[in-house]
Amino acid sequence: MPVLKLPTPLRPYADGQSAIEVQGQNIAEALNDLIRQYPSLQKHLFSDAGTLRPFVNLFLGEEDVRHMQGVETELKADDVLRIIPSIAGGING
């Protein structure tokens, strides 16, 4: 089964785990399975409109999946998918 690795600040919402086995033929299905297992991650990964929040980056191995087929990228049983956030902020305006 593919494994999804979480960054430190999301682990408290997954019982403290850093790596979770997920089911899915592609990344979208794997993310859905992650949310099924740990529903409290939903609001931190997805906007109210259901799109991935802008700080969420997904890497398959060393590759940003935006440079592959995005969330439609197919997963193999031994794949390791990592969520690596961009950290950003700043004053208004």
Binding site: P7, T8, P9, L10, P12, Y13, S40, K43, H44, P54, F55, N57, F59, D64, I84, P85, S86, I87, A88, G89, G90, I91, N92, G93
Partner: protein, 144 residues
């Protein structure tokens, strides 16, 4: 409550003053449990934002995040938060800060006026992402 030694806070302020009038940023490393959060190291990093945005935005890339996770692991610590500056503006979280915030992390925001760090406050995103709650920033004085 977030505890930080005065010399580490001084290091944060020095980095953010050097970045003025642009925003500066970096990671907080340390230990955290339900009762206590302690910063024991920092990782000051360049603002990866584009030239035209760094006056009011900071960016730490996924590569920066991986570097910080590796550094925390090497030191036997956890990543517990982020620090950044608000140049010539109050050290209150902005809507943009909230939109981009990670849960659980402590966010130290430092007001830097005319190149001088004025004050730092620490904030945490609420679980429903609706707001930031201030957490007490306790500065521990170490003998020099």
């Amino acid at each position: 409550m977030l505890e930080i030694a005065n010399d580490l806070l001084d290091q944060i302020h020095t980095h953010l003053e050097a970045a003025h009038p642009e925003e500066g940023a970096g990671f907080l490393l340390g230990r955290a449990d339900a009762a206590r959060r302690v910063v024991t190291a920092i990782l000051a990093l360049p603002n990866a934002g584009v030239d035209s945005a760094r006056h009011n935005r900071y960016l730490l890339t996924p590569k920066d995040m991986l570097r910080a996770e590796d550094e925390a692991e090497r030191l036997g610590l956890d990543m517990i938060g982020v620090f950044h500056s608000h140049p010539d503006c109050p050290n209150l979280p902005s809507e943009f800060d909230r939109d981009w915030a990670m849960p659980w992390f402590s966010y130290i925001i430092t007001r830097v006026d005319a190149g001088h760090a004025v004050s730092s406050r620490s904030w945490r995103l609420s679980d429903d992402r609706a707001k930031f709650d201030e957490e007490e920033l306790q500065i521990i004085s170490l003998a020099s």
